[in-house]
């Protein structure tokens, strides 16, 4: 049996990574100890069926400082920021924001369980950085190059092309250098 499917005893004396919990608390601005595990986020989340760890357990893992299982989960990448959890949390926790911050942290620490989701996000941002606006055709080509999944949505092309909905060339905006500079400064500042 692969080790990650075996039940393991969690040592609550040694394993909690408080700096991790504190960093997520600080970056999200959310008081994680408000969560009393009612499960409303898991109940409300349209993606629960696809998650490897339900969102309420992500919250619990955060409370107990279990960094590794949280950052290596697919759930944090599958969350689509629909904010059902935030909207219905009885304790007014912005759970969707916590999930956002976990994606940031996972990236920083080099985790991305859902590689294709990350590849799509990266392709999108590449496109913004290069053109100032998203160039949909270029984004798809980039995504396919990153993932090798050349058949992605192939059948949709014939639906869109005749309607003129897919441009072959990016929209050029004057400010595209300004956008590129935003990305450059971001990398330099190292926020």
């Amino acid at each position: 049996m692969p080790p990650d499917t075996v039940m393991q005893t969690v040592n609550l004396t040694d394993s909690p990574d408080r700096t991790f919990t504190n960093r997520i608390t600080e970056e999200s601005g959310q008081n994680l100890s408000l969560c009393y595990q009612c499960g409303n986020c898991t109940a409300s989340c349209p993606y629960s069926f696809g998650f490897d760890i339900p969102v309420s357990q992500i919250m619990r893992l955060l409370q107990t400082g279990q960094k590794e299982p949280v950052l290596t989960s697919s759930s944090i990448w599958l969350c689509a920021s629909c904010t059902s959890c935030t909207t219905r949390c009885p304790n007014n926790i912005d759970v969707a924001k916590v999930m956002d911050v976990l994606r940031h942290e996972a990236r920083r620490q080099g985790f991305a369980k859902e590689r294709r989701v990350k590849a799509f996000f990266d392709s999108f941002l590449d496109s913004v950085r290069r053109h100032g606006r998203v160039f949909e055709m270029g984004l798809m080509v980039n995504y396919i190059r990153k993932t090798g999944r050349f058949w992605t949505d192939l059948e949709l092309g014939p639906k869109m092309l005749p309607k003129g909905k897919l441009a072959f060339k990016p929209h050029q905006i004057q400010g595209k250098e300004a956008i590129a500079r935003i990305f450059e400064r971001f990398e330099k500042e190292g926020f």
């Binding site: 349209p46 993606y47 069926f49 696809g50 599958l78 689509a80 920021s81 629909c82 904010t83 059902s84 935030t86 909207t87 912005d94 969707a96 956002d100 911050v101 994606r103 940031h104 990236r107 859902e114 294709r116 989701v117 590849a119 799509f120 996000f121 990266d122 999108f124 941002l125 913004v128 100032g132 606006r133 998203v134 949909e136 798809m140 995504y143 992605t152 949505d153 059948e155 949709l156 639906k159 869109m160 309607k163 003129g164 909905k165 897919l166 441009a167 929209h171 905006i173 004057q174 400010g175 595209k176 300004a178 956008i179 500079r181 935003i182 990305f183 400064r185 971001f186 500042e189 926020f191």
Partner: protein
């Protein structure tokens, strides 16, 4: 009626996959006397990939556009797209409310930000500032008997503290506008359930299930069409409807309109200005049924 003038942020998809939303939004606003001053040289808000990457970067991408709008002299930006709306609103609120954050954002921008204009959806202005009664007076070709469900998507009204518009669980603004245009609006319980959002490319399976459920509910209620206000929702339900059909062994042929298309149609605006030909699922039968209902009446 005096003209209302706003800064206008079309959003990237309006240049491509949702060009019919962009086109019909402009046509409807013009017909209603709302002046949309496109933000010159606007750039992408970064959408979900940006806020999933970093909040400062995301706010800078949106902030640049808010700064350009302020330079235009506008204190309010309109956008048709809920994803742009969320990003612009989040950025505006965070930058205005937190000086440290504003400083960080300014460090990424060419020009530091001054007063931040507010952002509203086009829908909010049509609903709150003009109102269904006023809009019904513009109707020349009512959507008599057309059975529709309204699908708002997950983020047009949520979270309520940020969006401050309509009800977060049971929004009614599009329902009221569609009724004002003469349509029959069926009670649709999944108004704010997520369609799968931007996972269509990377995790199509998720979209197939979520959008499939939305179409299934609309179909079982007897809707002839779904009315949307979000480019991503519309794309998942319309462009991907054939994918949903083959994934779920279903045979839906539900046209997925933007609410602006149906409003424009009811106002009697020319088809070309509404981009009805850009829809993947043929809206013809639904629209023709309206004429038949008219004749019967």
């Amino acid at each position: 009626m005096t003209k209302h003038a706003y800064a206008y942020y079309p959003g990237c998809s309006g240049q491509g996959t949702s060009m019919e939303y962009e086109r019909s939004t402009r046509a409807v606003c013009e017909a209603l006397g709302i002046q949309l001053d496109e933000i010159p040289d606007w750039s992408c808000c970064g959408s979900t990939p940006a806020h999933a990457f970093d909040h400062t970067l995301s706010a800078a991408l949106s902030g640049r556009n808010l700064g350009l709008a302020a330079k235009q002299g506008h204190d309010c930006v309109l956008t048709p797209c809920p994803s742009c709306l969320t990003n612009l609103k989040t950025a505006g609120k965070h930058i205005s409310g937190d000086e440290n954050f504003r400083d960080k954002v300014n460090r990424l921008l060419d020009e530091p930000l001054g007063t931040i204009p507010e952002t509203k959806s086009v829908l909010q202005v049509l609903f709150e500032d003009l109102g269904p009664d006023w809009i019904s007076e513009k109707v020349k070709r009512p959507l008599t008997g057309l059975k529709v469900v309204t699908y708002y998507g997950c983020i047009l009204t949520r979270p309520p503290g940020l969006m401050e518009f309509d009800s977060e669980e049971n929004p009614i603004s599009m329902d009221m506008l569609m009724r004002a245009a003469g349509a029959e609006v069926l009670p649709y319980p999944l108004k704010t359930e997520c369609c799968g959002a931007s996972h269509g490319v990377a995790r199509k399976d998720l979209v197939m299930r979520l959008s499939g459920r939305l179409l299934d509910m609309a179909d079982s209620l007897g809707a002839q069409a779904v009315v949307t206000a979000c480019p991503l929702c519309q794309m998942n339900l319309d462009l991907r409807q054939s994918q949903v059909n083959s994934a779920n062994s279903a045979h839906y042929k539900l046209p997925i309109f933007y609410y602006t298309q149906l409003l424009g149609w009811a106002f009697g605006l020319p088809d070309a200005s509404l981009g009805l030909d850009k829809l993947c699922v043929d809206p013809g039968p639904a629209l023709r049924s309206i004429a038949a209902n008219e004749d019967a009446a």
